[in-house]
């Protein structure tokens, strides 16, 4: 078994503009994904959107600068994630295709294998 992080990307403004009805539909999509994925989901959360982010990086002279906002300024932001355990990439791809964000026109998901230090 290997571990993968599914990062859910999308247009933060479009997510913000969602109606209660839209949200309900989205949540139903995630519920059916979670059901299909079962115990292969190790963790998963929706993230507050990019303006809520805080970024730390070097100030170049040995200290740390803190900035408001995400590390990368982009229209498409990470909106949530799942930590998965699966036999191989095909299995994760098959499950991830159930996520509603894969089917909306402004969003998509990125699957990143997690380095196995074991």
């Amino acid at each position: 078994m290997a571990k993968y992080l599914i990062l859910i990307y999308g247009d933060a403004q479009r997510w913000d503009a969602m109606t209660a009805e839209d949200r309900k539909e989205l949540e139903a999509g995630h519920a059916s994904f979670s059901k299909a994925a079962g115990s292969r989901v190790l963790a998963g959360h929706e993230l507050e959107l990019a303006p809520m982010a805080t970024t730390l990086r070097t100030d170049g002279v040995g200290g740390v600068t803190t900035t408001d906002g995400p590390f990368l300024e982009a229209k498409e932001a990470v909106g949530g994630y799942y930590l998965m355990e699966a036999a191989d990439l095909d299995e994760v791809m098959g499950l991830a295709a159930l996520l509603p964000e894969v089917h909306a026109d402004h969003s998509g998901v990125e699957i990143r294998p997690i380095v196995d230090h074991g």
Binding site: A2, A87, D88, L89, D90, P113
Partner: protein, 408 residues
């Protein structure tokens, strides 16, 4: 008498994918499998002069490669636990089991959609066709180091992201098969007219593509898309020997000696095409094969059924909208209705940015202008076409035409 080195070369051409795939199934590690398969071929060069060429060279090579892999695995079993593995939770079959399945798994692994198209082509040529990294680099006009890095990165992704070594489930087959077929088609077209260099045709590449298509057809005889692609490749290949004159000049379809077209390939391609069309609605490759079949049926250039070809290009445009297909349709139209009609059909394409550096558009336009005796415009168009090709045989052809129109 076949010499040993010829026999080894032939076994490499015909059996590499099988030897490699079977070994990879045991090692689950592409690099190790490659090394062991290469060792087996080296061993053959040393052993066969003494023992004679075995009756089944592929089986001999597979056994040697797998034995070598077993030795290495035993010796390095502790170390190997830490190495990236090619994942497969299925039991490893015995040496005689599932040979063909292994090759099919290998092709689908190399063409997995999680790999970029460049990587898919490179891996297929390297691991399935057994081309060296230098040869793959030459086919794709990149430095050998660049290609080596590309192949290494693709192998690493297979291991790290755990791209499985498996034929996809039926519900994923359509998507992934079309990637595989596109790779095979791309290998063929690259060989059919080499993008640069002194040779027009790279028979090693067209040969590899045809062998892959044959293998896929053998393994999945009911997939009409594969049948259509194999039909297309065979019908196009049937003309391969007549595309150059004795002095090496490019010969157009109208100038080729049709008596030298390979009737065996035409017969086989036509039969496959009929079978593909009977099975399901035509695919892109089947329609392209049908166009090639119309050419093959014509006893002489003058007897070509241009109406049929124009309407087939119309069907192809529906299935596979592309400016290149529109260009080909305009050519056929120019032969059916005359060069003025062809030129009209080209006009909208001149503004298409996708064709801005496509030399064939200029060459086709030049030809229509030449046939309309608009010499000065034709000369300009030939010059444009010349600037856009790096293949020496094509350049020589275009220079000949340019001199011809300038003489008027």
């Amino acid at each position: 008498m076949t010499t040993v080195s010829e026999a080894v070369a032939e076994a490499h051409r015909a059996e590499w994918a099988r030897v490699f795939a079977t070994t990879a199934q045991l090692t689950r590690d592409l690099d190790l499998a490659e090394e062991c398969a290469q060792d087996a071929y080296a061993q053959a060069l040393l052993t066969w002069p003494r023992t004679g060429i075995p009756d089944r060279p592929g089986a001999w090579l597979t056994t040697i490669a797998r034995n070598r892999a077993r030795d290495v695995l035993r010796r390095e079993s502790t170390f190997r636990r830490a190495m990236p593995l090619l994942v497969s939770d299925e039991p490893v079959p015995g040496p005689e089991d599932g040979l063909d399945d292994d090759r099919l798994r290998l092709i689908f692994t190399c063409c997995h959609p999680a790999l970029g198209r460049d990587a898919q082509v490179a891996l297929t040529l390297r691991l399935v066709c057994g081309l060296s990294t230098a040869e793959v680099a030459r086919a794709y006009l990149v430095q050998e180091a660049t290609m080596a890095a590309r192949i290494t990165r693709a192998k690493k992704k297979i291991a790290k992201a755990r791209i499985p070594y498996r034929v996809p489930a039926p519900d994923q087959l359509a998507e992934r098969l079309s990637a595989v077929l596109e790779v095979v088609h791309l290998i063929f077209t690259t060989g059919h007219t080499a993008p640069t260099g002194a040779q027009l045709v790279r028979r090693d590449l067209t040969g590899s593509a045809i062998r892959l298509a044959r293998m896929l057809h053998l393994l999945m005889p009911n997939e009409a898309e594969i049948t259509g692609l194999l039909a297309l490749l065979l019908l196009v290949e049937s003309r391969a020997d007549t595309r150059l004159s004795d002095s090496g000049r490019l010969l157009l379809l109208s100038e080729q000696d049709r008596s030298r077209w390979d009737t065996r390939l035409i017969g086989e391609g036509t039969a496959l095409l009929t079978d593909a069309l009977r099975r399901q609605a035509p695919t892109r490759y089947a329609v392209e094969a049908a166009i090639a079949a119309v050419h093959a049926e014509a006893k002489a250039w003058e007897e070509t059924d241009w109406s049929e070809i124009v309407s087939l290009y119309g069907v192809l445009l529906q299935l596979w909208p592309s400016p290149v297909v529109e260009l080909n349709r305009a050519v056929a139209l120019g032969f059916r209705d005359g060069p003025a009609a062809g030129l009209d059909a080209l006009t909208p394409l001149l503004a298409d940015p996708a064709l801005a550096t496509y030399g064939y558009l200029s060459a086709v336009r030049a030809d229509f202008l030449r046939r309309l005796r608009r010499w000065a415009e034709a000369a300009d168009a030939y010059e444009e076409a010349l600037a856009l090709t790096d293949n020496e045989v094509e350049r020589a052809f275009l220079i000949g035409r340019l001199e011809e129109v300038r003489a008027h």
